[in-house]
Symmetry: C2
């Protein structure tokens, strides 16, 4: 049986070795299922009693409470909260986090989370499990979500090495592949492969939707096929998430948007000038580059 991070201090642990998960949505719920399957005891914390009941029915945690005080004694606490709540955490939650526990998060932007939380908790370590589906909420969690997926850990100069090791053990317990990077590097990479695609895909959708000729607009809707569906999938996703990504990772997202706009302008110029050999080269290069990105083989 794999054990979570041992708490360093010999405190009064009601349940030593227990992992706390705050939020039992897609990430928190999936993590609860996998950790329990690996033999870990999981203390879930959710906001409403209705969610707690459903989380218990689904078996997302060993115990589920609405009072953060139930985290007492947890050696490791995962804040599986949306970015906005993570960046404006309830004072009662912060106060309830055991000081000796390792605390981590699952947010998709890391620099602002690290900047805030390294001052809020002495053993905070920032993380980002890169797994997900379009689903959210207490019904979304599912087993095996993290298997063979990257779990990025972004330590800062002040991050406790023991806390990093504890998070590595947690990630490995659910089959994830640990990758360590600087928070700023993570955020710039995430802007390119995760946040930019959302905004570009949405731009494409809106361009197609805003066709002013009614006949063309209707036919376009009728003829759309898998290519259009694939290219616009992430742009038609959760607008809260898309806005949060742009808001919390603004500098990197803006740089990525600019670079993409320049590429689009260059292609527009080639089409306008009839630069077909150059357009062919650009499209060839796009195809060659694509295979170097994970999951695009």
């Amino acid at each position: 049986m794999t054990e979570p991070a041992p708490a360093p201090a010999a405190g009064s642990h009601r349940c030593p070795g227990r992992v706390g998960i705050v939020g039992l949505g897609l990430i928190g719920g999936s993590l609860g299922l996998d950790l329990q399957a690996a033999g870990w005891a999981v203390q879930g914390i959710v906001r409403s009693e209705a969610t707690a009941r459903r989380a218990r029915e689904r078996g997302l945690a060993t115990r589920v409470d609405t009072d953060p005080a139930a985290l007492t004694g947890c050696g490791l606490v995962v804040l599986a909260l949306p970015l906005d709540r993570l960046l404006a955490p309830p004072a009662a939650l912060v106060a309830a986090l055991p000081r000796e526990a390792v605390v981590t998060d699952v947010g998709s932007v890391k620099a602002p989370v690290l900047a805030l939380w390294q001052d809020l908790h002495p053993r905070f370590v920032a993380g980002h499990p890169m797994a997900g589906t379009a689903a959210a909420g207490v019904e979304a969690g599912l087993p095996g979500l993290f298997r063979s997926r990257p779990w990025v850990i972004t330590p800062g100069p002040r991050t406790d090495p023991g806390a990093i090791e504890a998070l590595e053990r947690l990630a490995e317990a659910v089959g994830a592949e640990v990758i360590t990077a600087e928070a700023a590097t993570h955020d710039r990479a995430a802007a390119l492969i995760s946040h930019l695609p959302v905004l570009v895909s949405a731009s494409l959708l809106l361009a197609a939707a805003d066709e002013s000729d009614a006949g063309v607009a209707a036919l376009a809707r009728q003829l759309a096929s898998s290519g259009f569906a694939d290219t616009t999938r992430v742009g038609g996703g959760n607008p809260d998430l898309g806005t949060l990504m742009a808001r919390t990772n603004g500098t990197a997202v803006l740089a990525a948007l600019r670079r993409c706009r320049h590429q689009l302008e260059a292609i527009e110029q080639l089409v306008q000038d009839g630069g077909w050999p150059d357009l062919h080269s650009a499209l060839s290069r796009a195809g060659q580059e694509r295979s170097s990105f994970r999951g695009c083989g």
Copy 2:
């Protein structure tokens, strides 16, 4: 048994009712398989003897020849050729097309095809079966490709109504859904939902690939997931096809590119200004609009 278009003149048909298919790649080969399954006799024409042998082995047509003269007696001929060959057809092929046969094509851009071919053959009717995979060549054809997919017919003022009916019967024989539209309307709709996605997706790929910070570039490649893979799939496709679409549908593609660039610029401005409520509205609208496009439900 469903019969193809009867030839109107009582010509010397070696094999009346036979359908000719010129080119046995993805579209031609798939059509040959489905038409034979529906009981039609199919005369395939390919360029090389090696391809002919392989097409015979795969059973893509009832007969396969390299000499277009074998089309003699076909009541309906489908030109399943790439757009560039369709727009610069070999003189021997044009000369070999029976004058009394209905002749159609499968090109993804319709106005230039109609403009050329309505002068090359008296019974030409322009069509576009909207089905496909990334595969090409004699190995690509597969059964059922057209089932429940749109087959757009774009008649001109001079198109023979009997030829339209013949093409409708062919499309219905393979389970496609016939949609009639003006060639220009088709081309503008195709620019929005098919050609623009290729160029936007390629721009996104090149923006991500051209990251100058080596650490960010490497991490982006390592962290790319299904969202990036989906959004860049069509942009990493066949560069010949992407270039041909832009070249043959330049005006509509350019208008679509401009509209998409304006959307991207507007989103960039919102991110720069911190216009989060407006960005949220734009992303919400993208999600709502998406469900009105076929295949995006």
